[in-house]
Symmetry: D2
Subunit: 135 residues, 4 copies
């Protein structure tokens, strides 16, 4: 897969649970942070959008867990964005940097809401991500 | 769906993010806590299993987000367990208690590992959850 | 100490870190949730106050950690509120329920802000917590 | 204050709560991650120590909150270590990088435990942090 964005991060020990591996929910945090940084890199602020009444929300998430991350691991979250009807679909794969092993594969279907109502399209995303979405 | 277990909980304000709703990753926490309480109700301790070298791990999770939970909301996580090959599949639905509205639907595929190796079956789960798994 | 409020909770496994004990920061979450439930029990909503531009914020927190909580532990957070100048000071002690052992002692100094400005007093807290604050 | 270590980080949106600012408990996470990175920079692994039965634990934490961090903020956690009797005391200050504003001041008193028993001194820390501790 060709990715549109990459964010490098490092495991923080408090993200590990009593099994000594990163707790499952934290991978979801990693993908969220990566999406928001991707949006920021295209001059789209998640929190500024929220203040204008527009919220990009996750409608569905699927995560396949392959290999767990552990204390000290460095990793990259790589992201590819595609449009599917009213959905903005983020394909996000997490790789452990030491050996490029695939850690987790996520598919995140998001939609935009305007003051709580589903939008067919989000003008700000469409304008600023035009190159990617028209691909 | 007929459920095998229910856990009632209440939103904690720190679980809400800047959109004023419970952050997506916390629903995953809710489902995890519900699974562990379900196991405990059948005398299976997740942390005791870990100390014996057996870890039940999530191989795949899918969550459909329907309606967000907010500050003050009380909710129930309802769980049904089914066996599918080597997988123990948890169907977990979250309902808002005030109006029984469906908040989120999760399917959590778990497998058991013995000292890091995939097990075809987990004897402890099979023994203690026999009634449910042989249904 | 005589307490004004008690909230009973149970450790959730995801709150434990790789040391197998509840991560330190989660005790702060427990005290926050207890404060908000205490306020709600006096008909004060933290999130509703926020929407009116009033934020109760923590100016200083001190936590003494005595005995760690572990997977499966049930505990109570007990709270006493006192006024000290412009500060609303919450004394919050956490006890393990199995043996009433003191787990942690916290002192949380909070102040109220109106649209980002420090308030000398918060009328809503003063009115609804009059019995406690005038003690 | 002269610092022994600095870790630069950026707010992740999921760390913000419904007040739109970083939730108080997350500053504690930031200080923990900074301490562990500091230790790693001196070749001391928190998780490896744990596997040898030695746990550095927090006995007391005090945090003064000055200015809240918000979505998008970059910040540095700066750390100074001092010895005080059996305690290893970490002074940790968080600064917002855009304007070097002091965000929070923390003092974290830690002690070492060997298989659950308080140690008068932790040989590994003493050896590897000799330059700092003998200052």
């Amino acid at each position: 897969m060709t990715y549109d964005f990459e964010l490098k991060m490092k495991v923080r020990d408090y993200e590990c649970d009593l099994q000594g591996i990163v707790n499952n929910a934290n991978y979801q945090h990693y993908t969220e942070h990566c999406r928001h940084e991707f949006l920021l890199s295209h001059d789209i602020s998640f929190s500024a959008m929220h203040e204008q009444g527009i919220d990009a929300v996750v409608a569905r998430i699927t995560i396949d867990y392959k290999v767990p991350l552990r204390s000290g691991d460095e990793f990259a979250v790589r992201l590819r964005l595609e449009r599917d009807g009213i959905k903005y679909v983020f394909f996000q794969d997490i790789y452990r940097l030491a050996d490029e092993k695939l850690v987790a594969k996520a598919r995140v279907d998001t939609v935009c809401m305007l003051n709580g109502r589903l939008m067919k399209s989000c003008p700000e995303l469409d304008a600023k991500l035009q190159d990617i979405l028209s691909r």
